[in-house]
């Protein structure tokens, strides 16, 4: 001990040390009854919303009324078809995204719902998509009880 070195406040030309670091978050989350019902229904290729105090249907469903905070009481089924309310283009898919090809991120208001669900739309390019486009759910081949049971949305006939 006792050897003293004057430290040069740089990397000393040795280059930076680097190491890959992977952090995993394998949380096991309880769903509660509302999210649980929503994702259980997705397994059976059905979509549920929930009726808010003002009568509007919130989809995906929330537990408490967005205005009053009161617990909500009535889940309702909505359609597997809907309308794109806004969207953006994802030119290069990232790890974990539902589609690994270029696609659109979108908010889709399902028929029978008054709010929109976030998901992706499979489209050949941004020119094929527009706000107001009609889309329908493409179901995952092997449902697991998660939002990803919706594999993606696909264009339903011609864009409006």
């Amino acid at each position: 001990m006792g050897v003293t070195v004057t430290v040069d406040d740089s990397t000393g030309g040795e280059g930076l040390l680097r190491a890959p670091l992977v952090i995993e978050y394998p949380f096991n989350r309880t769903t509660g009854p509302v999210v649980g019902a929503f994702v259980s229904a997705l397994r059976d290729r059905r979509v549920l919303g929930i009726r808010a105090a003002d009568g509007r249907v919130v989809c995906p469903p929330v537990e408490y009324d967005p205005q009053t905070g009161a617990p909500l009481e009535e889940m309702v089924e909505v359609a597997a078809t809907g309308t794109v309310t806004t969207w953006s283009w994802v030119p290069e898919a990232r790890e974990g995204q539902p589609l690994q090809t270029p696609h659109a991120l979108a908010l889709v208001q399902l028929d029978g719902a008054d709010t929109s669900v976030l998901h992706v739309v499979d489209a050949p390019g941004p020119e094929a998509l527009s706000t107001g486009a009609r889309v329908r759910i493409r179901w995952a081949a092997e449902p697991t009880g998660a939002i990803t049971d919706i594999e993606c949305f696909e264009l339903d006939g011609g864009a409006s």
Partner: protein
């Protein structure tokens, strides 16, 4: 049907009326086993760089040297160094070799190991105060029965083979006792 909230994990112990679990009616049959839990996989990848002081420390380890850094105000030597003295908040600018002999300042007998790299249980994890340093390094004890480890015990690091040395804490495989008298606990005051 209605989902029975009693089958879900209790999420609140608030008195009545302060919290209500929603139990909405559901218009479709959810089957015998509605989803109650989800495991959503996900990992994040980082390109980690340790910083200037930690790089100096790790490069020292690759040469089997333990390099602390001195607080310019108090003179205390911190190891592993982070680049800043935790007492004065000033940058540490003088590198000081400490150890390799060290003193145990705290230990724990581990009976349940976590992670893929945990040694066979029971083992002893401990804090090792290298000679000349103000703070301790974490590591595990070897070459001694777990029930013979003591605070104040004198130890030295056991390094990996020379051809295995890298810029890594894993260069120290474990620590083992050396034939020196224990350091009295009162001399470790301020370092525990």
């Amino acid at each position: 049907m209605t989902v029975d909230p009693s089958e879900d994990r209790s999420v609140s112990v608030l008195p009545d009326d302060l919290w209500t679990q929603p139990t909405p009616s559901v218009p479709v049959d959810l089957g015998d086993e509605p989803v109650r839990r989800q495991v959503v996989p996900g990992s994040m990848r980082y390109d980690y760089t340790p910083g200037l002081a930690s790089s100096r420390f790790l490069r020292g380890l690759a040469e089997k040297r333990i390099l602390g850094e001195r607080c310019p105000e108090t003179g205390e030597v911190y190891v592993p160094p982070r680049g800043v003295s935790p007492v004065s908040g000033l940058p540490t600018t003088e590198q000081v070799e400490v150890g390799p002999s060290a003193t145990i300042t705290a230990f724990c007998v581990v009976h349940i190991g976590f992670g893929v790299n945990a040694p066979p249980t029971p083992f002893v994890s401990a804090l090792f105060l290298p000679d000349g340093a103000a703070v301790s390094l974490y590591g595990t004890m070897g070459e001694i029965p777990y029930d013979e480890v003591r605070i104040g015990m004198r130890v030295e690091p056991v390094w990996v083979d020379d051809d295995q040395l890298t810029e890594s804490m894993e260069n120290i495989r474990y620590w083992r006792p050396i034939d020196e008298p224990d350091v009295p606990a009162e001399q470790l005051k301020g370092h525990m």
